[in-house]
C-alpha cells in the first residue's frame, strides 16, 4: 500500500499505521519534538491510525503550513 508522508511516497503493509509510515520516512522523532500528524483535510491523526491506499499525511507544527 502506498501512502504519502509530506508528499513523499512510502510503501507499507496492510495493517500498518501512521506510526509505521513515519518510521519508514524517518520522521517518528519529529513527533517526540511535539510536531503532529495531519491528514489532507487538516485533521490531526493518531500514530495508531489506520492508513488507506493513497492517503496523504503531513507532519507539521501548529504554525507550519501544509
Amino acid at each position: 500500500m502506498k501512502v504519502y508522508v509530506n508528499r513523499i511516497a512510502v510503501d507499507v503493509l496492510p495493517g500498518m499505521t501512521v506510526k509505521h509510515a513515519l518510521i519508514h520516512a524517518g520522521l517518528l522523532k519529529e513527533i517526540e519534538a511535539s510536531k503532529k500528524v495531519y491528514d489532507e483535510w487538516g485533521n490531526e491523526v493518531g500514530l495508531d491510525g489506520a492508513l488507506s491506499e493513497g492517503m496523504k499525511i503531513y507532519i507539521i507544527t501548529m504554525n507550519d503550513e501544509q
Binding site: D11, V12, L13, P14, G15, M16, V18, K19, H20, A21, I23, H24, G26, I31, E32, A33, S34, K35, K36, D39, W41, N43, E44, V45, G46, L47, D48, G49, A50, L51, S52, M55
Partner: protein, 512 residues
C-alpha cells in the same frame, strides 16, 4: 398553586414527548467514541506534555451530557484490543466497562477479531448492547443494524467494518468469515432502513478518507460515526447531506453531536469534541471501580509464572554480539511465523532475565514495545545487505545490531562499514544471492526502523495481498499478525515449552 405547578410540568413533559409525533422539532444528542483500544487510564502521549484520556473521566462527562438531552452513546469500533488493560483479559474488561456505561451500540473494528472468533463470540454474548457488522458474514451474534427510539424519533444504527480485516489480523482469526465491501453493503441496506427509521446513522470502522467516499456515493445517510483512522475531527464535516464525525483515539476525546430533527429530517446540527483528561471529581465511580478491578487482575496476570530459565538470559549485550536471549527471541519469531530465518534488532530487547522462574512481567520488560511479527521474502542478496546494515554501528552500540535465527554469519568489525560481512550460511549452506528466503522480523524493522531498507524494498514490490491456505500471499509478504504483540507470542511459547536453556552457539562470529 401546587396542583397548577404539577399540571404545568405535565403539559411541558407531554409536549416534549409528543413533539416529534406532531411534527415539531426534536433534539437528540449523539455521544461517540472510537478506537479506545483498552486505554483505560490517562497517559502521556508521545510529544505531549500532559496526561490525557482516562475512561472513568470520559464516562463521567458522558453522564453529565446525557442528562441534558435524549442521547445515544455509540462506539465506532476497535475497543477490546491494544493496551494491556484490555489484552490481559482478552477484552472482557472493556465489555464490562461498556455495559456499565450503558453503550447503545458498537460496530466491530478490525482489532475486535485479534483474539480469534471464539473469544469474539464470547465478548459479543457478554455485551448488553448490540454489536453490529452488516458486512460480516458468518459471525454468530452480530447484528447488521438496530433501531433505537429517542423522543419519538426512530434511529437506525447500521455498522460496517473495513474489508481489510483478513489481511490485518491473523488469517486463523477470520476463518470462514466473509467481509463484504462496506460501501456496497450500506447502499444495499439504506432502502430497507428508510422504511422503519427516521434517521440513519452508520457506525463505520473504515477510516475517515473512506467515510468521505461513502458519504459521496451513498445517499440517504444522515450521520457517519467513524473510526479506524484515529482522526481528531474537532467539528463535524458535512459531505452532501451527510454529517461525518470521529473522536480521535484512546478515550482522549468524547464526541458530541446535537441533532435537531423535524419530520424525520435533520434540520440543524452542532458538534464538537470534549477533550478528556483527569479532573478532580470528574470520574464516574462505577467505571473507575471496573478500571481498578481489572488493573488488579492485570497485576496478577503479570505475576503468573510462565516458565523457567535454566541459565541467565543475556539482554545486556544484544547490541554488540550474539546473546542467548537474542537467540531465544529470534528462534521464537522463526517458529511462530514458519520463516527460514530471523533478523531482529538487538535494541528491541531491553533487559536480561536471571536464571530461575520467568514471569509474564519479565517478558514484558524484555519486550516492552507494541511490536508484532512480520515475515517477508528477501533474496540472499537482500539478506546480506540487511546484515551489513545490522553490523554497521556495532562500535557505537547501535540498536540495529542483529540477533538471528536459522543463519550464521562472520563479520569483521574493524573493516569499513558496508563491507564487514565475510560469510553467511543458511541451514549450514552458503547463502544463495538469487534465491528467496522467508525472513521473520518485527514490524518496526519491516517499516524501515533502525535504518533497515531491505524489508521496505521488498514491501514496495508487493502490490496485491490475499489469504491462501491460512497464509498471507502476494508479492513478498509471507506473514503478518498486527493484532498480537511479540511479547505475548513469547509468553505463549514459554508456557508451551516450560523450560529454556538457550546458548550462544556461534551464530554471529567476529573475525579479524
Amino acid at each position: 398553586m401546587k396542583r397548577l405547578k404539577i399540571a404545568l410540568c405535565f403539559i411541558f413533559f407531554f409536549t416534549l414527548a409528543m413533539g416529534s409525533a406532531y411534527g415539531g422539532p426534536s433534539e437528540i444528542r449523539i455521544l461517540y467514541v472510537n478506537d479506545f483500544q483498552g486505554f483505560a487510564e490517562p497517559y502521556q502521549p508521545l510529544g505531549s506534555n500532559e496526561r490525557l484520556g482516562g475512561i472513568a473521566y470520559l464516562a463521567g462527562r458522558a453522564n453529565e451530557l446525557r442528562k441534558e438531552k435524549p442521547s445515544l452513546l455509540l462506539s465506532a469500533g476497535d475497543m477490546i484490543q491494544g493496551n494491556n488493560w484490555a489484552n490481559l483479559s482478552q477484552g472482557e474488561s472493556v465489555i464490562e466497562l461498556m455495559n456499565g456505561m450503558e453503550f447503545d451500540a458498537m460496530v466491530l473494528g478490525n482489532h475486535e477479531f485479534d483474539f480469534g472468533k471464539e473469544v469474539l463470540r464470547k465478548r459479543i454474548s457478554e455485551a448488553r448492547f448490540p454489536v453490529l457488522g452488516a458486512n460480516v458474514e458468518g459471525m454468530r451474534g452480530l447484528k447488521p443494524y438496530v433501531i433505537k427510539e429517542r423522543k419519538g424519533v426512530r434511529v437506525a444504527l447500521l455498522g460496517v467494518v473495513t474489508e481489510d480485516v483478513p489481511i490485518s489480523t491473523h488469517p486463523k482469526n477470520v476463518t470462514d468469515l466473509k467481509f463484504l465491501p462496506p460501501i456496497d453493503t450500506v447502499e444495499k441496506c439504506i432502502p430497507e432502513l428508510k422504511k422503519d427509521a427516521d434517521l440513519i446513522i452508520v457506525l463505520s470502522h473504515i477510516g475517515h478518507p473512506i467515510d468521505r467516499i461513502l458519504a459521496e456515493r451513498v445517499k440517504g445517510i444522515d450521520v457517519i460515526v467513524g473510526g479506524h483512522s484515529h482522526t481528531k475531527l474537532e467539528r463535524p464535516v458535512q459531505a452532501g447531506n451527510t454529517i461525518i464525525v470521529q473522536a480521535r483515539e484512546h478515550a482522549k476525546a468524547l464526541g458530541v453531536l446535537d441533532l435537531t430533527i423535524e419530520n424525520g429530517r435533520v434540520i440543524g446540527f452542532e458538534g464538537h469534541l470534549e477533550e478528556i483528561k483527569p479532573r478532580i471529581g470528574g470520574e464516574d465511580k462505577a467505571a473507575l471501580a471496573i478500571v481498578e478491578k481489572y488493573k488488579q487482575k492485570m497485576d496478577a496476570v503479570l505475576n503468573v509464572r510462565v516458565g523457567e530459565a535454566e541459565v541467565d538470559l543475556d539482554g545486556e549485550n544484544v547490541r554488540k554480539r550474539e546473546t542467548n536471549l537474542g537467540n531465544l527471541i529470534a528462534d521464537i519469531l522463526r517458529h511462530a511465523s514458519g520463516a527460514d530465518v530471523t533478523i531482529v534488532n538487538g535494541g528491541g530487547i531491553r533487559t536480561s532475565i536471571k536464571r530461575g522462574e520467568i514471569r509474564v512481567k519479565d517478558i514484558y520488560a524484555v519486550s516492552p514495545f507494541d511490536n508484532y511479527i512480520v515475515a517477508i521474502r528477501l533474496t540472499g542478496k537482500q539478506i546480506r545487505e540487511a546484515l551489513e546494515h545490522g553490523v554497521s554501528a556495532v562500535e557505537e552500540g547501535g540498536g540495529r545490531f542483529p540477533q538471528v535465527s536459522g543463519l550464521s554469519l562472520k563479520y569483521s568489525p574493524s573493516d569499513q562499514k558496508g563491507s564487514r560481512i565475510k560469510e553467511v550460511l543458511i541451514a549450514g549452506q552458503p547463502i544463495d544471492p538469487d534465491r528467496e528466503y522467508i525472513v521473520a522480523t518485527n514490524d518496526f524493522l519491516a517499516a524501515g526502523g533502525d535504518g533497515y531498507r531491505a524489508f521496505g524494498e521488498a514491501i514496495k514490490e508487493s502490490r496485491d495481498f490475499s489469504i491462501i491456505g491460512g497464509m498471507m500471499k502476494g508479492g513478498k509478504v509471507a506473514y503478518s499478525e498486527s493484532g498480537r504483540w511479540l511479547r505475548d507470542v513469547v509468553v505463549e511459547y514459554l508456557k508451551e515449552v516450560k523450560k529454556v536453556s538457550p546458548r550462544v552457539e556461534g551464530r554471529i562470529i567476529e573475525v579479524y
